[in-house]
Symmetry: C2
Subunit: 208 residues, 2 copies
């Protein structure tokens, strides 16, 4: 079973990289499909699930809702249900065939399947350029606002990871291969990356 | 000009990886040759240069020698000369042709040549196994002693790096590709890595 997980900084092109790698390797890439599966099975809206699915509990729980037990339950019960559904669905999908899973702490959730865990990152200049390129006209942010958004989303991803593990988000030791996409065209990195993933699975020393 | 630098944790197999990559890419790999060149040009012994060449000044300067100006000069003058010679020789070698340079903060020294900077690391179990395998019978260390030696050498490398840059040793953001060699046969990773290095140089976005 060859499972690849992709953790990534916001704006680093991790999702694009995952999708291109999946095309080249001929294996499915799970990202949005996880959200669709939760929506279908549990009846939440996809937008609501997207909002929850990579954030830490504290981030999900707005201070404006007050500290009442009822308010807490109102927010937390569906959040917990979505987190638990997400884990279940990731395990189900990964159990079906070789695949790539993007984000959602899949590296930790699928640990027993010995995945190859990638981390994709880039300098702030490249991430800003990538984010501004893909942002719709409607959501016009200044460079400064976009940099703040990038920082905030990374913070939420790091916090979400803490629910699952002590292994730090973005720390070298939490991954098997860390790829800097600064000033690089992702498409052109794929032949090397796909070859490396094949090598990595074949290179395992016997006795481990 | 295609320059690859390799920074590495002690025992991660970074040197072996560099040499194999150099064979596959057909470009020279500079490691011991840097020391030989300094020895030849400046007349120090190779052992003495090895001792100095990746250690921070404070590590080189034993407290037992006292705080006298004469004692300080006795240790520091050749140390500074070797450090400066090392930088000069690394720049000379890298100026001659595409190459791989192992250690010695070559990523910082050669920054203007836009090298591909790799960091090689592994979990402590794999590093212990690798170190014990290559240690001669004469230098018999227990696992605990070897683990201490690994920790000490990494500490010296991190401290040496601080002389040159604020970019931290072993921090993802200081490198372009970070490769975990835990439980992996280095030889089998090389086809993927050599392909990746080629892709990386070709993938540069225009305008950078």
């Amino acid at each position: 079973m060859k499972i690849i997980t992709i953790s990534r900084e916001f704006g680093s092109g991790g999702r694009e990289l995952g999708k291109r790698l999946s095309d080249t390797l001929g294996i499915p890439c799970y990202d949005r499909k996880i959200i669709e599966a939760i929506a279908e099975r549990y009846g939440y809206s996809e937008d609501y699930i997207s909002h929850i699915s990579e954030k830490e509990i504290e981030v999900m729980y707005p201070s404006t809702i007050g500290q009442s037990f009822a308010g807490y339950n109102y927010i937390m019960q569906p959040a917990m249900e979505i987190m638990s559904a997400q884990q279940k669905i990731i395990k189900e999908l990964a159990g079906q065939s070789d695949c790539i899973v993007i984000g959602r702490c899949a590296d930790i959730i699928l640990k027993d399947l010995h995945p190859l865990n990638l981390f994709i990152y880039a300098d702030i200049k490249s991430r800003l350029a990538r984010c501004i390129n893909r942002t719709s006209q409607k959501e016009h942010l200044t460079d400064r606002e976009m940099a703040q958004k990038i920082k905030q989303i990374d913070k939420e991803r790091a916090a979400y990871r803490k629910i699952f593990t002590d292994n730090q988000w973005g720390n070298i030791k939490s991954y098997h291969l860390c790829v800097d996409t600064s000033d690089r065209e992702i498409k052109k990195l794929i032949p090397g990356l796909s070859m490396y993933t094949k090598c990595w699975f074949d290179a395992e020393l016997s006795g481990n």
